[in-house]
Symmetry: C2
Subunit: 230 residues, 2 copies
């Protein structure tokens, strides 16, 4: 099974240069989609589906925006591609996605009988194209997909890291701002220059800030769950 | 992991009678949905999602009708339930489905964080709630669902068997009718009472009919792939 996974590196692989260039071209289109998610404060994941050299379906993560567990990049792209082709079978198509698909999206790829999947970066704690499971290549299913990973990997993972770094910083600011506001509400001035602590206030402000800093220290390398678990 | 699967039989189980009656009541609603698929000549699979004792999402298989690999009963029900709840998290919901979910639908259940799944009959060759895989209870995912199987099992599997029996009979009739038509076209009367075989006709009509009969003999017990593989 493993020999069906083509692990592409920047230094070269079994693929010829033309194929790699084509894959990179379409992965760039998937990254463009991911940036649309980024702009909505959604985990930046993008996808395109290609048929006969043309993109027939695009999608990006809109889970929080649409309030739907189905609003993953791959599902949207599959929906659009099926509409375009006029068939539930997306045979002869290639799916490009910036992050390793989750269990639902890997399942949808098999259901749609997509023969080839190209992945940007992996999702070690939740991915189902080789990380937690490899649902794309289960022999007992009636379809398996060829898999190429690591195409524009640095760009894809860099975008994710940047997103989560900004998210943590924003959350930290919000927490600090919230704590400051809470502080102003709780410690009302009784006399000018004297502040009285309101009874029942559960913890020190400084402690909240400490927690926030601890959270900020979390490694930005850890993309676990990322787009799919937030 | 196995002890989390409550295997319910008609003779009784760990569940009390009230719970079983509730499950049967909602499975009957899922069967109603499946019958809508049946009426469209789609593999009869139906699903309902229940929240606080009320159905908040219904769905039935429309894969061929909608020409979409996503048009499975569970996906439609999840889409509707999320819209109703106004959240991608369907926590505190129970999903009832007449046939064991495929890899995509099991994945969607986990993505939606549905805590409990009730299944009518199993799908030994393609099901992903215990048959080929059990995607509902993978420890490494951030969510697992409780699973109850075999609720109104005979009704659910009986409906599937009936559907495939009728499908085979219809296909057989169509094949025979097509063969008869082909026969009429190929063996044109040259003189009254004399039929001439057209040059290049590849095989005997009787052989085609033989193949059709062979197909007709296939066991109706075999639901392999059923709704998901046709």
């Amino acid at each position: 099974m493993k020999d069906r996974i083509q692990e592409e590196s920047r230094t070269g692989s079994g693929m010829d240069k033309a194929d790699r260039k084509t894959d990179e071209r379409f992965m760039r289109e998937a990254i463009k989609q991911a940036r649309k998610a980024y702009a909505l404060d959604e985990t930046p994941i993008g996808c395109v589906i290609v048929y006969e050299g043309k993109i027939i379906g695009r999608g990006y993560n809109r889970r929080n925006t649409d309030k739907s567990p189905l609003a993953h990049a791959e599902i949207t792209a599959i929906k659009k591609a099926s509409r375009k082709i006029g068939d539930w079978r997306l045979e002869d198509c290639t799916l490009y996605v910036t992050l390793e698909p989750c269990q639902m999206c890997s399942g949808a790829i098999i259901q749609a009988r997509i023969p080839r999947v190209v992945v940007g970066c992996m999702n070690p704690k939740a991915g189902c194209a080789g990380s937690v499971l490899n649902l794309l290549q289960v022999e007992r299913f009636n379809h398996q997909a060829e898999l190429t990973t690591g195409v524009l990997e640095e760009e894809c993972s860099g975008m994710m890291k940047q997103f989560f770094k900004e998210l943590r910083e924003r959350k930290k600011r919000e927490k600090e701002s919230g704590a400051a506001q809470e502080y102003r509400q709780l410690y009302r001035p009784v006399k000018p220059g004297v502040r009285k602590r309101k009874a029942g206030y559960p913890a020190e402000i400084s402690q909240c800030q400490g927690e926030s800093r601890d959270h900020g220290d979390q490694s930005i390398e850890d993309l676990s769950g990322t787009g799919r678990k937030m």
